[in-house]
Symmetry: C2
């Protein structure tokens, strides 16, 4: 920790002692002074009205059913697990319904169920079906679920606090919350002090409970760690779990999940100790993290599915409803956030949700502004990052993403220098995401499938180079965690956007440098995707560069001649065993192209290399007896003769088909004559033609001022 950081921390600690005493109920998402306005708001503003209608309906449903607090027995997905999950939702919904309706029946529900928990909690030992490799909870199979339970429950309790008699409050506190605080901080001390997502939930639960029960010592531990020295705890987590750009190393899918306890606890801190200026902390880190999460989506709202991600998740996810509402109401009312709130079609029934719904109704929304940007990884922003290049408005945007971030802990994939490409509302070169059917009981209870490890994490599952049919770091996650790529260059001028990164450690004595760009030339309506992948090695290797694609190949040179009578797996391990080899043919001129028709638009990928390659067509699905792998296909350039090699490809986005009017325009690509003019460790020179006009593209790795020279 440097001097400045220490000073800031000291000031925070000082302020803490002075003020951790303000107390009012409710005081977190809904606050006492605002209840009148929110009650009025649910009559006035459509989005708040609709959101409350849903909460109230759920609360009424809870009231209509008997209160069940079963002894914890079942693993995730089982009956007692689901019942306890449902209970915390009911507690929160009834709490909100009580505050907005003033109807005591909702408060009584919360009081009664918490009295039941208070009566039984002390009798529950550690959960009998502890989740493998995870710390057991007492209500759930892993302590994480207990923390989450309490983050919601304490909010519900806060809302009905004043409706419960002092005697019953004492019973609930002594029977449930106090032993729980002890469990979370003492029994789960290791998690509490761990700089990790599970720790954040623990801390948030403890801190929020500390505020509501007016127990400043727990708040202090939550903020500064169990030793109260700032080495662990909330602020240390904010410092270390996010990069200065607000990136969470596990990737977008986990970022939106990790973010929630940060936001909820920050909101509590903000309300109870405004003088801590938590939203200003680390240069407005939380606001940045929320915005970065939004920036980590394509224009349809789906998160870029790098690392273990469930595809189809969008920024409509509940965590970002909290994020957007609080960012707008408590940090900075940026009009473009209202655009996202509108798409979410929901606000938190809260002070923040009131403001968002009111301003939306007042017509203040502006389109969310996606930015081309380099999002740096690592606590200090020095561990690589994601380069995101964008062109076009939100209705029809080209996006190129180069993943040159660090491994991303346990959910990371071995995909150094992976490239994703989107256009026209769809994936063109997709990432597989995780091998998982979330919440589908029949697919391993909805958990990660074995194929997540054997396929989804492996390098060959991604649009990047595989050396000697082996994944990065031989698929050793610990090793991979120890080093990271370096960003060599990033530029985001409108007509020339470039990101370049180097990876030196994924394979011994092999350096990989990828330089990818969106280049708008005068001859064409849409930018070209220019991609130069250079490998420098001490001795020859097999190099495989796959492009997983969506759509249908309608033209190719060399002409594809797929196997007719038999398919065999491509290899035996590192994911190769899951691939059917569908075609394999030499590329005689060392260059060629494939035209893909996807969502009524053409994508012609021209490629050239400086060593002979084979073009291989791949189909996912071998060694998959359970048929768990999702249909996927790729073309791949493969060579086995060279130490140094350059893969140069230019993807033109062109034309359209209209199946209704049965018309096709712009079907033929205007790009031609790809050539590799020269390459060294300092420089790569390539050329291509567009409508006959020659372009020379020179990459100067050593010249930051003149990194790309285009003639």
């Amino acid at each position: 920790m440097n001097y400045l950081k220490k000073l800031v921390m000291a000031i925070y600690c000082l302020m803490f002692y002075l003020s951790a005493s303000a107390q009012e109920h409710p005081g977190i998402m809904l606050t006492k002074k605002n209840i009148g306005a929110v009650r009025k708001g649910v009559q006035t503003y459509p989005l708040l009205k609709a959101s409350y209608k849903k909460v109230k309906a759920d609360a009424d449903k809870a009231l209509a059913e008997p209160i069940l607090v079963p002894e914890p027995k079942d693993a995730g997905g089982g009956a007692t697990h689901e019942q306890h999950k449902k209970n915390y939702s009911n507690i929160l919904n009834c709490g909100i319904a009580y505050q907005l309706s003033a109807d005591k029946k909702y408060a009584a529900y919360v009081e009664n169920i918490l009295l039941k928990y208070a009566a039984d909690y002390g009798k529950w030992p550690l959960h009998p079906k502890r989740k493998e490799n995870h710390q057991a909870g007492r209500i759930f199979w892993q302590s994480l679920n207990d923390f989450v339970w309490q983050v919601y429950t304490i909010q519900g309790y806060d809302m009905v606090y004043e409706a419960i008699s002092a005697k019953n409050r004492a019973t609930i506190n002594s029977g449930l919350f106090e032993p729980m605080l002890k469990f979370f901080t003492v029994d789960c001390k290791e998690t509490f002090d761990k700089i990790h997502n599970h720790g954040t939930w623990d801390i948030a639960a403890v801190g929020m409970t500390g505020y509501v029960l007016n127990k400043p010592e727990y708040v202090e531990m939550a903020i500064k760690g169990s030793a109260k020295d700032g080495k662990t705890g909330y602020l240390a987590q904010v410092d270390q779990l996010f990069s200065p750009d607000g990136y969470y190393t596990e990737g977008p899918y986990y970022q939106r999940y990790a973010l929630l306890p940060f936001i909820l606890f920050a909101k509590a801190i903000h309300n109870f100790q405004p003088e801590l200026k938590i939203f200003e902390y680390r240069n407005q880190l939380l606001a940045k993290a929320i915005n970065t999460t939004l920036q980590l989506t394509y224009t349809d709202g789906t998160f870029f599915p790098v690392n273990d991600a469930v595809k189809g998740k969008t920024y409509e996810t509940p965590e970002l409803v909290y994020g957007v509402d609080i960012a707008y109401a408590d940090i900075k009312p940026a009009a473009e956030l209202l655009d996202v709130a509108q798409r979410q079609a929901e606000v938190i029934v809260s002070d923040a949700g009131l403001k968002v719904a009111a301003d939306l109704q007042a017509g203040k929304a502006k389109p969310f502004s996606y930015q081309s940007q380099l999002i740096k990884d690592g606590a200090s922003g020095t561990e690589g990052g994601l380069g995101i290049l964008r062109y076009g408005n939100n209705d029809d945007q080209q996006v190129l993403l180069l993943k040159a971030a660090s491994q991303g802990m346990g959910h990371g994939h071995f995909d150094r220098l992976n490239l994703l490409y989107y256009d026209n509302g769809v994936e063109i070169f997709p990432d597989y995401g995780s091998a998982r059917f979330i919440n589908i009981e029949s697919k391993k209870g909805g958990d990660y499938l074995p194929e997540n490890k054997t396929w989804a994490k492996q390098t060959i599952a991604h649009n990047t180079l595989v050396v000697d049919q082996t994944s990065n770091y031989k698929a050793n996650a610990e090793l991979a965690q120890q080093s990271h790529p370096e960003i060599l260059y990033f530029k985001s001028d409108k007509n020339l956007q470039v990101v370049s990164a180097i990876e030196k450690n994924a394979y011994p004595e092999v350096q990989m440098i990828r330089t990818s760009a969106l280049l708008k030339v005068a001859e064409l309506a849409k930018p070209l995707l220019i991609d130069v992948f250079q490998v420098l090695a001490a001795k020859p290797h097999q190099y495989d560069l796959p492009f997983w694609y969506k759509g249908h190949i309608v033209d190719a040179s060399p002409k594809i001649n797929a196997f007719r009578n038999e398919l065999k797996p491509l290899g035996e391990k590192y994911g190769y065993e899951h691939i059917w080899l569908n075609a394999d043919q030499p590329v005689k001129e060392k260059s060629g192209y494939l035209s893909i028709l996807n969502n009524k638009r053409f994508y012609t990928v021209h490629f050239a290399t400086d060593t002979a390659v084979n073009l291989k067509m791949l189909l996912l699905g071998a060694n998959d007896p359970d048929m768990s792998l999702v249909e996927s296909k790729a073309f791949m350039l493969s060579s086995a003769r060279s130490a140094n090699q350059v893969f140069f490809n230019v993807t033109e986005t062109h034309g359209r088909t209209n199946p209704v009017s049965e018309t096709t325009t712009g079907a033929s690509s205007k790009v031609s004559d790809l050539k590799i003019l020269g390459s060294s460790k300092d420089q790569v020179r390539v050329s291509f033609k567009v409508k006959g006009k020659l372009y020379t593209w020179q990459i100067n790795y050593q010249q930051k001022e003149n990194f790309i020279k285009l003639n």
Copy 2:
């Protein structure tokens, strides 16, 4: 021809002589008396305004380019072909622009280009690149294109008629239209008198030209055939090409195409000889045909892709813009047609378009009402048909289609008793359609691919029974054309909709009877798809019943154990050579299920048979060196021991997943215990349970009053 028909025909002929003389320009889609109103309408009604804007922009574009009338040289897709196609569009657009703007420059364009054609047409011999097996045109490689050219051109000429000097009109008539009439009726006499779609275009061109040039003899030939005896010609075509339900035997995709010349010429007859009451002819056949075309779509507007169909075609297609506008304005102003017009987002700039746009603006639209119905095939309605069962509103509709129609001429598929299923806006059990990338030059010039014959037409490509690995009628189209299935039963009560059909001729000494239903039971929110496929044969055969499906299988019993290390084709011919066999395993209990997740909803197909079967998983793509086949997959029940067999399956549509909130509900099917209780040539009895409640389903083939008995 029966007596009544002869009488009607005689009356028509009589009326014809009395009246074929009214003459006014323009007189077809736009009429002189309405010009003022349409001119005002393009200022007033948004849809008409937008439609005219497009026409005028195209007309202006035509004016900005030099007039080119090249000597016909190229085949379809080539330069002269495309230029002549463009010319007729330009002529029509400029004609409309002239009438609406009164700006003579548009009329001058039409005059000048037609003078060029008039100067050259006489010099052009039959087209040098005659399309194989098709009659050559003089402007295009097949005469069909010449007919189409004239159908549009004569409309444009009609619109600028009064702006052209009598002298130039005489030049155009004598140099172009008169020799063309001769070519169409004398040289192309065979086509002109053929009861076939190409003949319709010939007739429409000749008839419309006859009206515009005031040559009643040509109009008469068009309406009654070249011999003027009514044995051929327009009325004979209306009689024979459509079934009494307005179905055109080639199927929906070709129906909408075949319909256009019928509609255009009918509109001309209607205007010039209203006393013929053409729209009343054959019990309002044309109105029925237009409505039937609309009914042959799923709720997203896509045509059911049976037979040779390009998938993705919707009722937004230009032919149906004509169809809907004329049906609404000239036949019957049904408010639900306005709903379709709105989706089309276009009207014809015409008298009819004016009315549609005005009534839309007046808010008269009602949702298009899809009906469960049996659409009979054959000129007399006795050659089988399509059974269409629908449940639910237009936002989320289950549709079951049983194809028991006749072969459908050259574009027909060997798919007797094929079953299609749609739900939730998507295909569940799809039809492949045709193997064709229309207008994609690199895929055989956009024409049908060889795989259309080797794959798409074959029985195994469809959701119906294949006997002894051989297609219906051994894939002999002529043979197949000679017989047709019979509809045994059709019922469309809300909670029980059934269609049953028998096919006796597709395989020697094999009778196939399929009885499919949507059954709403009290226990479930959505109807079950009940499907009983009975085969009766003299001796044992191999029976294969595939279900091509969309989505991902998430559960199955027996558990699927897909091949790991090698895939081989399923067979050697009749399409089997294109299928990779992905799994093959015995169904021990003669029953089982598969659960498919598709578009966030579950479809569990329970099946039972009365003879041992294997469950085979199929993947399309073998023997496809050009990679022309589109990804498709199926599960298939296969047996080889039985003469008589019953395949009984129940598909439950249930539950949902939400990838955004990561919730899953209703994932487990409530159907169980499928049993075949008995079967004979007169009856099949099966039973199943829903949430434990027993249902017995008895089919009595011989009892129309008691065809389905449900207990």
